[in-house]
C-alpha cells in the first residue's frame, strides 16, 4: 500500500474529514507505536509500510521504556485531537475535550491500526501487538 492509499484507507475507516486530518492521525498513532516497539524490529516493516510513514517508526528506541502504559500511548494520540478538530458530542458541558477525548483517541487508534494490520502479514502484526500496552493491545485486536 502506498502513502496516499494508506491515508485514504485511514480516512475511510475513521470517517475523517480530509487527507490532512488522516495524515495527522496516522503520524500520531505511529509515533506512539514507535515508543513501544524495539528499534531492532523496525526495519522488518519496510516492505509493508510506506517510506513516508517509516520515518515515524524509525523514531523507535533501542530499549523501550517498560513502564510506557496506555495513558502515555493515548497521550501521543491526543496531541492531535484539537488541531484536527475533535468531534464535539457534548450537550452543553464545558469539559467536552476531557469527557470524550479518550473515545476519540481510541477511535483514532482503531482506524490507523485497521489500515496497518491490512498492510502487514500475520507475523508482523503480532510483533507490533505484543509490544503494545495491555489496553492498547485489546484495541489493536479489535481493529
Amino acid at each position: 500500500m502506498d502513502y496516499e492509499s494508506f491515508l485514504a484507507d485511514v480516512q475511510k475507516r475513521g470517517g475523517l474529514r480530509n487527507r490532512d486530518e488522516s495524515a495527522f492521525v496516522t503520524a500520531a498513532v505511529l509515533r506512539a507505536v514507535a515508543e513501544v516497539l524495539p528499534k531492532t524490529h523496525v526495519e522488518g516493516f519496510v516492505q509493508a509500510v510506506p517510506p513516508e510513514l517509516m520515518v515515524y517508526l524509525r523514531g523507535a528506541h533501542e530499549e523501550p521504556d517498560p513502564y510506557f502504559d496506555e495513558n502515555l500511548f493515548l497521550g501521543w494520540v491526543l496531541a492531535t485531537v484539537d488541531v484536527t478538530g475533535g468531534r464535539d458530542k457534548t450537550e452543553g458541558g464545558l469539559d467536552f475535550q476531557v469527557a470524550y477525548s479518550q473515545d476519540e483517541a481510541i477511535d483514532r487508534c482503531r482506524c490507523v491500526f485497521g489500515t496497518l494490520k491490512a498492510s502487514l502479514d500475520h507475523q508482523q502484526s503480532e510483533l507490533i501487538s505484543v509490544h503494545l500496552p495491555d489496553v492498547i493491545q485489546q484495541i489493536y485486536a479489535q481493529s
Partner: protein
C-alpha cells in the same frame, strides 16, 4: 528471601479524573515505583500538594496525603517534616502552584534546605482552570490569557533553584517513566531539599509542548557529567528550546539540612516524644516539651 515492595500497595480507590493521556499518570506511576524501590511503605510517606490537576495526586495514592491551599504545600511540608523528621515528605504540585503562586516558598525552601522532595509537574500551562499561560510558558505562547502570545520570558526553574541554593536538582520527562522513577528515587534519598522538575505534556490545553515536542528535544545527561560541579550544572540549567537535559543536574550531599540545625530536634522527633509521653507520661514532661518550642 528479599522481597520488593509491590508498587500496587500504593494504589487507591479514588476515581481518577485526569484527562486520558495526561503526563500526570506517568508521574503517579513513577512515584509509586520509586517508593517501592526504596522500600518506603505507605505509612512512612506523606505527600503534600497544592491546587491544580497534578495536585489531586495524593487522592490517587495510598499514603498519608495533605492537599493545601494554592501555592502553599512547601511550608506545610516543612512543618510536617519538623514535627516528624522520620517521615518521608514529598511535595507534588504543578508549575503554576510551585513557581507562580508558591514562587516565594520555592525560593526559600531551596535556601532553607529542609529534607523534603519537591516534584513539580511542569506542563507549562494552568490546566485545571482551562488553559492560561503559566510561569514556565515560553515567550509568545498563545492562550486565553495571552491572546497575542506570552510577553514575559519563561521562568527557568532549574537555574532559579540553583541560584537560590537548592542542594539537589533533577529533571525528568513524563514520556520516560523508568528514568523518572530513578531520578525521583535519587531525590528522595538525598538529604536536603530536592527539586525534580518533570516535563509533562498537558494533552488538553497545551498543543505546543506535546510528547513529540519534548521527545525531539530532551536528552539524558552523559555518564561523565558531574552533577557536583556547580559550574557544569549552571550551564545545563540554562539549556532550553533546542536541547533539554534530563537527569540529576546538580547535587551537594554535604550541606546540612534545616532539621540538622534546629536545636530542639536534637532531643529527637517531636512527634515521637509526644507519643512517648502519651504512653508513659510523667509530671512536668509536657511542660518541658512545650518550653522547647514556645
Amino acid at each position: 528471601m528479599v522481597t520488593r515492595l509491590d508498587p500496587k500497595i500504593f494504589d487507591s480507590h479514588a476515581e481518577n479524573t485526569w484527562c486520558p493521556g495526561c503526563g500526570d499518570f506517568a508521574i503517579l506511576r513513577s512515584l509509586k515505583l520509586a517508593l517501592s524501590d526504596l522500600d518506603i511503605p505507605p505509612h512512612a510517606a506523606l505527600i503534600v500538594s497544592g491546587i491544580g490537576c497534578g495536585s489531586k495526586l495524593p487522592d490517587y495514592m495510598h499514603v498519608n496525603g495533605y492537599m493545601t491551599i494554592h501555592g502553599r504545600p512547601l511550608p506545610v511540608a516543612t512543618g510536617a517534616k519538623l514535627a516528624n523528621p522520620d517521615l518521608h515528605v514529598i511535595v507534588v504540585d504543578g508549575d503554576g502552584d510551585a513557581y507562580g503562586i508558591g514562587g516565594n516558598h520555592f525560593l526559600h525552601s531551596a535556601r532553607r534546605n529542609p529534607n523534603i522532595t519537591h516534584i513539580v509537574e511542569n506542563n507549562q500551562i494552568y490546566g485545571l482552570t482551562k488553559g492560561q499561560y503559566s510561569p514556565t510558558s515560553d515567550k509568545g505562547f498563545v492562550t486565553t490569557t495571552s491572546p497575542d502570545g506570552a510577553i514575559e520570558a519563561s521562568l527557568m526553574p532549574v537555574a532559579v533553584a540553583l541560584a537560590a541554593g537548592a542542594t539537589f536538582i533533577g529533571r525528568a520527562f513524563a514520556g520516560d517513566p523508568k528514568h523518572m522513577a530513578a531520578v525521583i528515587a535519587a531525590g528522595i534519598t538525598h538529604r536536603g531539599y530536592s527539586l525534580i522538575d518533570v516535563l509533562q505534556p498537558c494533552v488538553t490545553f497545551n498543543r505546543v509542548n506535546t510528547y513529540d515536542w519534548y521527545r525531539e528535544r530532551v536528552y539524558k545527561l552523559e555518564d561523565d557529567f558531574d552533577p557536583t560541579d556547580r559550574e557544569s550544572a549552571r550551564a545545563k540549567a540554562y539549556e532550553w528550546e533546542e536541547r533539554i537535559p534530563l537527569g540529576i543536574i546538580y547535587r551537594n550531599d554535604d550541606a546540612p539540612t534545616y532539621e540538622d540545625q534546629v536545636l530542639p530536634l536534637k532531643a529527637g522527633s517531636p512527634l515521637a516524644n509526644v507519643l512517648k509521653l502519651q504512653k508513659d507520661p510523667a509530671p512536668g514532661q509536657y511542660e518541658a516539651l512545650k518550653e522547647q518550642f514556645v
